[in-house]
């Protein structure tokens, strides 16, 4: 994985433990809001990312693709996979705006018949499939290729789809997650919805006033139990349950009671056969928008009653990396289980008056964590919850 707080999983864990946020001001996007709206940017310039992704000097890779490729290479190495093509493998990627980060810079040249030049090679990178195929082609994956775009829940849905391909017996290994680069397009989109805070985002705080955007990429290697046993792989965690529901309420807002969020979490637990009292940590969607946190908070109270487990949003660390968020936070859930750790919800000070609950504000080490719920909710009423559990083999 790669985010504003680290170039790999170890780097992310280090920053989480040090409680170091990646939110700052953008160096790389061309916008009048550069010094106004904070964002969690991966600190490297795109040319540096080329080197990190192992494609130095090669053209045509957008920032979206490069972030994804860096994360993909780490995921493969970490899973002990030297050659991806050895096992028929799926790649289920997620993206919200594809290579917009690069195409928006040349778009008006592209549509201008008077202009010719190198920018033409970026013409076909605008769609969401470009990054997926370039990553797949670079590492040699070709069995199942898909890209999902359900706004902020995209990579959670990618994980679900991958798990279901394995369960159906179509493939034994699928690499799932998402990649997202900051763009002027998205920044202006969320800003036009008045969803971006000029300060650091404050999830579940009474004074919250919107999100900070982020960028990054994260992939998880899912394998069937038979493949795991066959190659004697070390299992980091189990994707035990998941659910995808829709609010059917409003194009960009959840129902205040959090109906979709409640149903998604409840169904994920039911699939995993895990009772609510056995959940030790919820990594909430927690964007810090007025409506999300209210709906999600209500859903938590409805599901867990007066025994809501420790919960936190890690978006004050990474920003909201949209299509990559579900993947990033799924890895954080795995880290919580592996290292018996619960991450703090930064910048919280004042309880929301509509809720009885407050997020975890301290870094908790040495807490046994067996079951984590990871939430990702998005535009179009798309809700996704994952139940990630300790593997009992």
């Amino acid at each position: 994985m790669v985010t504003a707080i680290g170039d790999d999983v170890a780097g992310n864990l280090k920053s989480l433990r040090r409680q170091q946020s990646g939110v700052g001001f953008s160096q790389h996007i061309d916008t009048i809001y550069k010094d106004v709206l904070p964002a969690a940017e991966v600190r490297h310039a795109t040319v540096t990312l080329q080197g990190m992704a192992g494609v130095a000097g090669k053209d045509g890779y957008t920032r979206t693709t490069l972030l994804g490729l860096i994360a993909m290479r780490e995921a493969l190495a970490d899973a002990g996979i030297a050659t991806a093509s050895e096992e028929p493998t799926g790649f289920i990627n997620a993206s919200t705006v594809g290579g917009m980060c690069d195409t928006e810079k040349v778009y008006f040249d592209v549509i201008n018949p008077e202009k010719e030049g190198d920018f033409l090679q970026y013409i076909d990178t605008l769609d969401c499939a470009d990054c997926t195929q370039r990553i797949a082609d670079t590492v040699g994956i070709d069995e199942y290729i898909a890209t999902i775009s359900t706004a902020c829940s995209s990579s959670a849905n990618a994980l679900m789809f991958g798990a279901r391909l394995i369960k159906a017996g179509l493939v034994r290994r699928v690499i799932c997650g998402g990649t997202e680069a900051l763009t002027r397009f998205t920044l202006n989109g969320f800003n036009s919805l008045k969803n971006i805070d000029k300060q650091h985002c404050r999830p579940f705080d009474q004074t919250r006033n919107g999100l900070n955007l982020g960028e990054g990429a994260a992939y998880l290697v899912l394998e069937s139990e038979s493949l795991v046993k066959e190659r004697n792989a070390s299992v980091k965690a189990e994707l035990k349950g998941y659910a995808n529901t829709n609010e059917a309420f409003h194009p960009t807002a959840p129902s205040p009671e959090g109906d979709g969020a409640f149903a998604a979490m409840q169904q994920a637990l039911a699939m995993g056969g895990v009772a609510p009292e056995n959940v030790q940590y919820v990594n909430v969607h927690g964007t810090a928008t007025i409506s999300n946190d209210l709906a999600e908070g209500h859903a938590l109270q409805r599901l867990f009653g007066d025994k809501v487990p420790p919960f936190s949003s890690t978006k004050p660390f990474t920003g909201h990396a949209l299509a990559a968020a579900g993947g990033i936070e799924a890895i954080y859930a795995v880290l919580a289980i592996q290292h018996s750790i619960i991450f703090p919800n930064l910048h919280f000070s004042q309880k929301m008056e509509e809720l009885n609950i407050t997020p975890e504000t301290q870094l908790k080490e040495g807490v046994p964590v067996s079951n984590v719920i990871s939430n990702s909710f998005g535009f179009g009423g798309n809700n996704a919850s994952l139940l990630i559990s300790k593997y009992e083999g």
């Binding site: 919200t96 829709n246 059917a248 194009p251 179009g380």
Partner: protein, 346 residues
């Protein structure tokens, strides 16, 4: 994936008069400009006037096709909504890009941004039908619709019913120009019904929406197979047929994605009983959904509408097994098998 999947209802808005009650009796629509546009219906039966004003073209096309499909299938709330689109609402993406520049990033209207989101149509369908179930959108060029279809088949195998699955795609003048700069379209203008007589680089562009309700309840048309093959090094046809225990001789019709593009048409060479369809729809990411609609209609009607195919020798029925083979500019190749469920026919 040993279950059976049947089409319960379908609907299509396309450059042909596919939305009419008796589509096969409609005249063939042709174009001379290398780009097709959908024949749009009267939306007033499907949505309130303010929605008609507010929504951009492909949102209306997609939503209307989906709603009509639900009606045709005789259901109200689908068991899930899964779609595919390569480009989503291009009009909205283009408009938001322009407004960012024109208004220098200030005082922007959020509507085009929201509508440019790829899952916007899904959200609208869910909202209108109050469907709180599974909802997903695939955005992968020539695998967009087909991944949605695979997802729907998985959902049925997992015990769900009445899955609404479909695709929608738009072409705009601006995007047509953009793709012309990298050789997607023919340089020379041709009449669309002469497409196969012009084996030159590039093809003609199109758009459309097609939706289906898929379930395990037996109906006339069974979706008996689906396989996506990414950048194949050799033909997958025999493997696909073998996996379905069917011989090429048992295929009564092959609906092919042939599009007159001399760079990629060789994949279709040698197919028996071939019926190309791109002179009806033009080329686009989710043209496979149009092909599935066409194949299912042919199975039900037990005839190929001869007036739509004046340029080819039209195979005559009976039709039991129809193979669809389509690829998108040589990268995403798809095989689909449709079978007439004779036991169901009265």
């Amino acid at each position: 994936m040993k279950d059976k999947y049947y089409i319960q209802g379908m609907s299509a808005i396309s450059p042909q008069h596919t939305f009419e009650k008796d589509p096969f009796s409609q005249p063939l629509v042709t174009v001379q400009e290398n780009v097709f546009a959908c024949v749009e219906p009267d939306y007033r039966a499907y949505m309130p006037p303010n929605s008609i004003r507010r929504m951009t073209r492909i949102l209306k096309v997609g939503l209307t096709t989906a709603l009509q499909c639900i009606q045709n299938a005789g259901i109200t709330i689908p068991g899930a909504i899964v779609t595919g689109t390569g480009k989503g609402s291009l009009s909205d993406t283009e408009r938001f890009l322009k407004e960012i520049r024109e208004y220098k990033e200030t005082a922007l209207n959020a509507t085009p941004f929201i509508q440019s989101t790829y899952n916007a149509v899904n959200g609208l369908i869910a909202l209108q039908q109050k469907c709180t179930q599974y909802n997903n959108t695939f955005v992968h060029r020539g695998f967009s619709f087909e991944n949605a279809l695979l997802d729907s088949m998985l959902l049925i195998s997992e015990g769900n019913k009445d899955i609404l699955v479909g695709a929608f795609e738009e072409i705009t003048a601006e995007h047509f120009y953009i793709k012309s700069r990298i050789g997607f379209w023919k340089k020379e203008k041709i009449a669309s019904d002469q497409l196969y007589a012009h084996p030159t680089p590039g093809t003609i562009s199109g758009e459309g929406a097609a939706f289906f309700v898929l379930s395990d309840t037996p109906s006339e048309v069974e979706l008996a197979g689906l396989k996506m093959v990414y950048k194949p090094k050799a033909s997958y046809l025999e493997k696909f047929l073998a996996s379905k225990n069917i011989r090429l001789e048992d295929i009564d019709l092959v609906i092919s994605g042939r599009n007159g593009d001399s760079n990629f048409d060789h994949y279709y060479d040698g197919l028996p009983k071939e019926l190309p369809f791109k002179h009806l729809s033009g080329e686009y990411d989710t043209a496979g959904a149009f092909a599935l609609w066409l194949g299912a209609q042919i199975l039900k009607a037990q005839q190929v509408p001869a007036n739509w195919f004046p340029m080819v020798k039209v195979p005559t029925g009976p039709f039991k097994n129809i193979l669809i083979y389509n690829h998108f500019f040589g990268e995403q190749h798809v095989y689909m098998l449709l079978t007439l469920n004779t036991g169901y026919r009265k």
